[in-house]
């Protein structure tokens, strides 16, 4: 690795990194503005409740995602059972439904007259005047988050299991280990970093969520921040609360990155093949299929069927509101996708040609934006834009309340996605191609435009699509930063759910799920191709 050089590329990347970090720095700076009465009130009255609820939520969700994610990953990578070929990719499907959407669906289903109660009554499992326990509770939220987020743990654990070298497992057996010892002494320690990396992601998502906990009326850190800002109109105290949450999230990001790095040491090219799977029979076969089917049913098939059943009730399918929201969403998503992808190309290109430690550090640093909760990002960006408009107060309010802030938030949140795609695409072609081009007289710009970009074509397309799917689902930052009267699909669903007009949310929700399936297609392909390569 080379040392830092003062040239255009390094100055440009440093400037972008600084711009990315300004909103976060502003949030942390609030800790030095002094603490007012509102903060004292929050600390004395509600902070304990916020902390306790957030903690219980994280612990409960962690237990559920570990239980479902790890066991299902073990089952599909070790055994062959009825439906296992379909279930191995179907287990990822709940990722297409964001937690807030699942929360709205589950709430409606478990209402007194909801479909869950109706089915139970028709099967005489409960009496006509009885109802199932309400889902709008802390335990309900834990279940909803668990079902929505277990695919993170499932995916990472499954890939780690697939990558355990077959000769290593064979060595353990020949050295006298039975299946149990091989599992506890070899498999489990090897997949542990991957499990923890997945778990850290789940904790981050749970702590960052706003839509689901707000709908369930559970006072957590995010709802507290929202209430302090837009209820008490105290941005500074909201930022101070956000700083505390951000510190916890930073710890999660650190743990996730550290565990992911540890997980890499077990990668192998001699991973297990389909022929190594053990065929299950009888009751074991049934139990394995049942265990893997339940989360797919609960996290995808049932909610999707429920939303489709709502859409049948709606007469005006393509309302003006829906059309506008769809157009707005696509405009934002594609713009953010293009900008983020362009930035990722420039950063990765600079990293490839400069090979400098500094560029690598900057790239890693700005990739951490994915972990910053949308709500906190929105607060930081709002503050940042307000300062900017204050400086230009003679001209008028230019950026506050414009699409600029919203796109800025999306770019920060989704940079890691595009970076991962382009980084792995860049690794697929050798640096000797660059050297040949340079020797033949190509400038850096020609190298980028005429050689790299055509070679990265598929990666660029994938990257834009992934950002689009991420932006379409995003709720808290959109809710806060959107211009007045500018609705997106996520905001439309949120508004309908808040106004108890959930049936009207059916089409925007279906559209969100449909676009949410894009990354699932790519993830499935990626896993399939890595299996094929091995």
């Amino acid at each position: 690795m080379k040392q830092f050089n003062l040239n255009f590329w390094n100055i440009f990347t440093s400037f972008i990194a600084l711009t990315f970090s300004v909103p976060i720095i502003l949030v942390f700076l609030s800790l030095f503005f002094g603490f007012n009465d509102n903060f004292d009130h929050i600390v004395n009255v509600v902070l304990l409740e916020y902390s306790l609820n957030s903690l219980l939520l994280v612990v409960g969700v962690s237990l559920i995602v570990l239980f479902i994610g790890v066991i299902s990953a073990l089952l599909v990578t070790t055994f062959r059972f009825t439906g296992s070929k379909i279930l191995e990719w179907a287990l990822i499907l709940p990722l297409a439904i964001p937690p807030y959407l699942l929360a709205y669906v589950m709430t409606e289903m478990f209402e007194y007259s909801g479909s869950a109660n109706s089915i139970f009554r028709s099967l005489n499992l409960i009496s006509e005047d009885a109802a199932l326990p309400t889902i709008r509770s802390l335990s309900g939220a834990i279940i909803v988050f668990g079902i929505a987020l277990y695919p993170y743990v499932y995916l990472i654990t499954r890939v780690a299991l697939m990558n355990i070298s077959k000769p290593i497992l064979e060595s353990a057996r020949v050295l006298g280990s039975n299946n149990f010892k091989s599992f506890t002494k070899i498999v489990l320690p090897l997949i542990r970093p991957a499990i923890f990396a997945g778990l850290a992601l789940v904790c981050m998502e749970t702590l960052s969520d706003f839509g689901a906990v707000q709908h369930f009326a559970i006072p957590t850190f995010t709802t507290g921040i929202f209430r302090t800002w837009l209820g008490m109109y105290d941005l500074i105290t909201a930022m101070q609360l956000a700083s505390i949450l951000l510190l916890v999230i930073c710890l999660m990001i650190f743990l996730e990155r550290k565990q992911r790095a540890n997980a890499e040491y077990s990668l192998s090219n001699d991973s297990r093949e389909d022929s190594d799977l053990i065929q299950l029979k009888g009751i074991k076969n049934f139990l394995a299929s049942f265990f893997c089917l339940v989360p797919v049913l609960a996290g995808f098939i049932i909610p999707l069927s429920e939303i489709i059943s709502w859409s049948v009730e709606i007469t005006n399918i393509f309302s003006i509101k829906f059309i506008y929201a769809s157009l707005n969403t696509m405009l934002l998503a594609i713009t953010a996708g293009i900008i983020t992808t362009m930035l990722a190309i420039l950063f990765n290109f600079n990293l490839r040609i400069s090979k400098s430690k500094h560029s690598k550090l900057i790239n890693d640093f700005i990739s951490m934006g994915y972990g910053v909760p949308g709500l906190i990002l929105a607060i930081g960006i709002t503050q940042c834009l307000t300062y900017f408009d204050l400086i230009l107060s003679d001209i008028g309010i230019i950026v506050t309340g414009s699409l600029f802030g919203l796109i800025f938030a999306y770019v920060i949140k989704s940079y890691a996605l595009t970076n991962n795609v382009l980084e792995s695409n860049y690794k697929q072609f050798s640096t000797s191609i660059d050297e040949s081009a340079r020797i033949l007289g190509a400038s850096k710009y020609t190298l980028l435009g005429n050689i790299h970009i055509p070679l990265l074509k598929t990666g660029i397309f994938t990257s834009v699509l992934l950002v689009v799917s991420e932006v379409v689902k995003e709720l808290p930052a959109t809710l806060i930063l959107r211009p007045f009267n500018f609705d997106t699909l996520a905001v439309t669903v949120y508004t309908y759910a808040s106004e108890e007009r959930i049936y009207e949310a059916a089409f925007p929700a279906l559209f969100i799920i449909l676009i949410g399936l894009i990354p699932i297609y790519f993830i499935s392909n990626m896993i399939r191709s890595s299996k094929g390569l091995n």
Binding site: P167, I168, E170, R173, V174, P189, L190
Partner: protein, 217 residues
């Protein structure tokens, strides 16, 4: 020295009705070093995996010291055969240090550590005990793999091109160590390789595996 210590009788193996091994008969005396050479894909590794129990033959019987390892009705699991297998791939457990790797196969004995260090000493690598597999060289890793297997005192040692990928200088260093330890402990060994000079250096008898059949050279 016991005659016919390991006995393979009429071993057949096929995948999807495609024969890989046909009527393999092999008798090895205790302490003998036998090598099997053959082209890539001739079934050498498959034969070792069948002996170790990682694969089951389609037909035939295998006996070790007159005890049945595997036939039509009996199949002893690999962990219960007390055989050693060293392959060319990286098979050290990446999350365990060198010492823990070598201790892994020693079953509940009090002086596990001493035994592991003693074996590492024989391969002149006791200085590596605190290192992880990714911190040592390929040659060192292969010595650790051999030490890990030999410390379990296997009845038969199976070597699947264990020196493949090591440079000639390194091989010259390792051969005497391996030969001495095998001779001292009278360990019966079967090695598969495609390197004839390596085979000549170490073996008492050499077989060629071609078209699924064994022929003594």
């Amino acid at each position: 020295m016991k005659k016919n210590f390991l006995n393979l009788k009429n071993i057949f193996y096929e995948i999807n009705s495609q024969p890989i091994l046909k009527n393999i008969n092999l008798s090895i005396n205790e302490g003998e070093f036998v090598s099997i050479i053959g082209k890539s894909g001739s079934g050498k590794t498959t034969l070792l995996k069948i002996i170790s129990g990682l694969k089951k033959q389609t037909q035939g019987e295998m006996l070790l010291n007159d005890e049945i390892l595997s036939n039509e009705n009996i199949f002893l699991e690999p962990e219960n055969r007390n055989l050693g297998l060293v392959v060319q791939e990286k098979v050290l457990f990446p999350h365990l240090k060198v010492l823990a790797n070598v201790e892994f196969g020693i079953s509940k004995e009090a002086n596990k550590k001493e035994k592991a260090i003693e074996m590492l000493n024989k391969f002149h690598i006791s200085s590596l005990i605190e290192k992880y597999p990714h911190e040592i060289s390929g040659g060192e890793a292969q010595r650790v793999a051999l030490a890990r297997t030999l410390v379990t005192k296997p009845k038969v040692l199976l070597l699947d091109e264990p020196f493949n990928g090591l440079d000639e200088e390194l091989k010259k260093d390792i051969y005497p160590d391996v030969k001495k330890i095998l001779n001292d402990n009278k360990i019966t060994t079967i090695m598969v390789s495609h390197n004839t000079s390596e085979v000549k250096n170490l073996s008492d008898r050499i077989f060629n595996l071609e078209n699924g059949a064994l022929k003594e050279l």
